[in-house]
């Protein structure tokens, strides 16, 4: 084990590491500057448990109605060797699929390690590349290096091979109504799919195949209108891929974060936990609420120290990047002398304050 791996084990306090999934990786890239999240994720810390221990439990409950619906839809699409899915690919997208094979990579004789499953995925895909055999590969196990650490991905997707090219098929249970779905949900699906495309490309690169053997076009399968019938659309995830690759490259390297921290730091439960978490700097933004289990704790911290970021990125931008609410108010009412780089911001804030005062006094 490397020093970094040992240090990360210590951070977890001996607990087994939590797996990444595409959702957490996509979320990671949403806030790449957050050292706290980067470190906890790299170590595979159970953030949900940490947040609960800190008294700020995350509210990521899922309704069983939604889960049932999602599972039922997926099962229906995949039933009988993905019969419905193949019909869709043939009819809707006009694909020629003469012979079809379906391989489920999930179970290889019960209980086995991630490495073993990854090897099996790799072997099967290598064979497919060579011989062109195999069409649908369900539940592939992929791997992606996150901040210098390998993360295993267990995507709920199918890799689909057609004429030597792989495509990612993602099944989602949100409805496409008259050709339109909720933009937020499509965007989230695109971000997640991009993670799978990237991981699949990395795997193929290991096998010596060029990146374009994995298509940047993802098949998104969703229920159509108000029914249970699936419909498929092609989603170009090139923009998301570009963002993802850039953010992953930029992710602060975990070993560099570790250098700055005390040698005995751990996120194991105990009295020292709040202090340990605070020792690692966070960069809270309201968007964290949707993706990170630590969000309530970080929000509380950001509010307590009067951070403008807690009010949203746009507010902080409006204030010319001033981080502290106290400073911004001081600049606005003239009690704080601006430093040279804030002269312009201060002038705008003072004008804004004067205009607000004039308007409110005039109305009163």
């Amino acid at each position: 084990m490397t020093d970094t791996a040992l240090a990360l084990d210590r951070l977890r306090g001996g607990a087994p590491p939590r797996n990444h999934d595409a959702r957490t990786i996509a979320a990671l890239t949403a806030n790449p500057g957050c050292a706290r999240r980067g470190l906890m994720d790299a170590a595979g810390v159970d953030k949900d448990a940490v947040a609960r221990a800190l008294g700020f439990p995350a509210q990521f409950g899922q309704s069983q109605f939604a889960i049932t619906r999602g599972n039922a839809f997926e099962a229906q699409v995949k039933a009988d060797g993905c019969a419905e899915l193949l019909t869709l690919l043939r009819d809707r997208l006009g694909l020629r699929l003469p012979e079809v094979a379906y391989d489920d990579l999930e179970v290889v004789g019960g209980n086995e390690g991630r490495e073993l499953r990854y090897t099996r995925t790799r072997r099967l895909l290598a064979r497919a590349l060579e011989s062109g055999e195999g069409t649908l590969f369900d539940h592939p196990l992929l791997r992606l290096d996150i901040a210098g650490q390998p993360a295993y991905l267990e995507p709920d997707v199918i890799a689909f091979q057609l004429e030597g090219r792989f495509h990612v098929i993602e099944i989602k249970s949100f409805a496409v109504i008259d050709g339109q779905a909720e933009p937020d949900q499509v965007a989230a699906a695109a971000r997640q799919s991009a993670v799978y495309v990237l991981a699949l490309r990395r795997l193929l690169a290991e096998l010596g195949a060029p990146a374009d053997r994995v298509s940047h076009e993802v098949f998104l399968v969703c229920p159509e209108n108000f029914s249970n019938r699936p419909t498929a659309s092609l989603l170009d995830v090139r923009p998301q891929l570009a963002v993802l690759e850039r953010q992953l490259a930029r992710l602060t390297r975990v070993d560099r974060i570790l250098e700055e921290l005390p040698d005995d730091l751990t996120f194991a439960p105990g009295d020292a936990l709040p202090e340990a978490v605070r020792a690692v700097a966070a960069r809270y933004a309201p968007e964290c609420m949707a993706t990170c289990e630590m969000a309530f704790f970080c929000r509380d911290e950001a509010r307590a120290c009067g951070s403008t970021g807690a009010l949203g990125r746009s507010v902080r931008d409006d204030l010319g990047g001033v981080d502290s609410i106290g400073t911004a108010l001081g600049l606005a009412n003239g009690t704080i002398e601006p430093s040279p780089d804030l002269v312009e911001t201060a002038e705008q804030l003072r004008t804004a304050a004067r205009l607000r005062r004039e308007a409110l006094d005039g109305a009163a």
Partner: protein, 488 residues
């Protein structure tokens, strides 16, 4: 967002209370609006679960689908909902006003009032849109026949949600949006999406400040979500067992579901009416009646042509889409300009952006004539001393915020202020009508942003749709397929 609203947010944090973003109310508020708090089943596109609705705070009705996956129960719910909504539409008409004949010489009428719907948030609007979409194509005879009121409900809900996209329309309002237009809180816009938290900042209960009230509002047990999504814990621990009991035919199962959903909806119902009371305390903006008149026009037209029309198509044909976009853009422009005229606090935004300016008149030449043309014209000079960051080019047309008829042109913007040449709104003679021109020492405000700066464009008829837009389209006629669409 601008530095001005952001500053208001900071002040809200500092004071622990929401700060005003408006000095008047910028939307119409009906005497008896139909308040609707809908809930939908998680994971479904538009499976209604319940709706609490009514026009009086003391008398809400509660409609419930005990098994939201049962198609017949859903349509029974839609029929019940339709009765309430269609009654509200009919009751909201008021009397008929006769208008002078239009250009085509036909006499026109306008209803003296229009129905108003209020929902808690944007999600509520989106849900009504989906509910409208899923019901408007239904047939009232043949296979899968539904109650005659169901497709009518679908068409009206679709119409209301389309009007909601229209800037300045008050026919269907989302409460969080309306409140955010009038107050800035010390939390992020994400958290403002929670009606209870937003109201907590604006009007905290006695003995509490905004942050404390908002924190309380975030506890889904103390304060169930305002919908249409339900609290997942409620789903798993209360609703799912109750629905399971109903499926098994357990005694009083339906009443139990009813009571459970009522407990989730009642707090939001109270919040909605508290928000209505808060908004009523604000004086109405001067241009609100004129915008409501446009709403009444739209309502009158749709109501009077309802019988001849088909349900709205799944997608707008090109000409209609282009016209609609054009209308929305014009409405947006005039809405923003009108709000600034009505409200100095909104005008302050335009002043901060440099598109308007205010100050004191420092020089005035009220009888100046421009004699360069054939006939002399009255062109008084006015210099306004201002500290505002004016961003107007010489030659820009501006008008007075107090009296928009008074128009002028920017001559120069200098350190001492702005020199204006007044061009209109002073009477027809070569000397200005008394009282039309501000005097030295008067406070004035001029803006470059006006309503209706560009006129309505002409669009081709449907039969004349150019080939660039797909060529002429068929008139939309609903098909059997539309009517029999699955709703599972």
């Amino acid at each position: 967002m601008s530095a001005l609203t952001s500053l208001a947010r900071l002040e809200a944090v500092a004071t622990g209370r929401a700060q005003p973003l408006a000095t008047v109310r910028h939307c119409h508020l009906a005497e008896a609006p139909l308040v609707m708090v809908p809930l939908k089943l998680a994971g479904e596109a538009a499976a209604p679960l319940a709706v609490m609705l009514g026009t009086r705070p003391s008398a809400p009705a509660l409609l419930v689908v005990p098994q939201p996956r049962n198609r017949d129960l859903r349509f029974a719910f839609a029929a019940d909902l339709a009765k309430v909504v269609l009654d509200h539409v009919e009751a909201g008409r008021g009397s008929v006003e006769q208008l002078p004949p239009g250009r085509d010489g036909e006499a026109k009428t306008r209803y003296s009032d229009a129905p108003q719907l209020l929902v808690p948030n944007r999600g509520g609007v989106a849900f009504l849109r989906m509910l409208g979409r899923s019901t408007r194509f239904r047939r009232t005879e043949g296979p899968y026949a539904v109650d005659a009121a169901v497709p009518a409900l679908g068409r009206w809900l679709t119409w209301f949600t389309e009007r909601h996209d229209h800037p300045g329309s008050s026919l269907l309002l989302a409460m969080t949006e309306v409140l955010r237009l009038h107050w800035a809180t010390g939390q992020s816009s994400l958290e403002d999406g929670n009606l209870a938290a937003l109201l907590g900042w604006i009007d905290p209960p006695d003995g509490m400040d905004g942050p404390a009230a908002a924190a309380l509002a975030e506890d889904p047990v103390a304060c169930p979500p305002a919908g249409p999504a339900t609290d997942p814990t409620f789903d798993n621990e209360v609703l799912a067992p109750a629905i399971a009991a109903y499926n098994e035919g357990a005694p009083q199962a339906e009443e139990k579901i009813h009571r459970a959903l009522e407990s989730q909806l009642a707090p939001t119902w109270e919040l909605m009416w508290r928000a209505v009371r808060l908004l009523r305390e604000l004086p109405e903006g001067a241009s609100v009646p004129a915008r409501w008149e446009r709403d009444r026009d739209a309502f009158t037209y749709y109501h009077q042509t309802f019988g001849e029309g088909y349900p709205q198509a799944r997608r707008d044909p090109p000409v209609r889409a282009a016209r609609r976009l054009h209308d929305l853009e014009r409405a947006q422009e005039s809405y923003e300009a009108q709000r600034a005229f009505d409200d100095p606090l909104v005008m302050a935004e335009h002043r901060l952006a440099g598109q308007a300016f205010g100050g004191v008149v420092t020089e005035c030449d009220p009888t100046r004539l421009d004699e360069s043309g054939k006939r002399p014209r009255l062109r008084p000079y006015l210099r306004v001393g201002t500290e505002d960051p004016v961003q107007l080019e010489p030659g820009t047309t501006v008008c007075s915020a107090d009296r928009p008829a008074l128009k002028g042109r920017v001559v120069e913007v200098g350190a001492g202020g702005v020199l204006l040449e007044l061009t209109g709104g002073m009477g027809r003679r070569l000397t200005p009508e008394p009282g039309t021109i501000p005097q030295v020492g008067d406070r004035v405000c001029f803006t470059s942003r006006v309503a209706d700066s560009w006129g309505a464009a002409r669009f081709p008829d449907r039969e004349e749709t150019p080939w660039t837009h797909g060529g002429p389209t068929e008139d939309y006629v609903p098909t059997d397929e539309d009517a029999a669409e699955e709703w599972s």
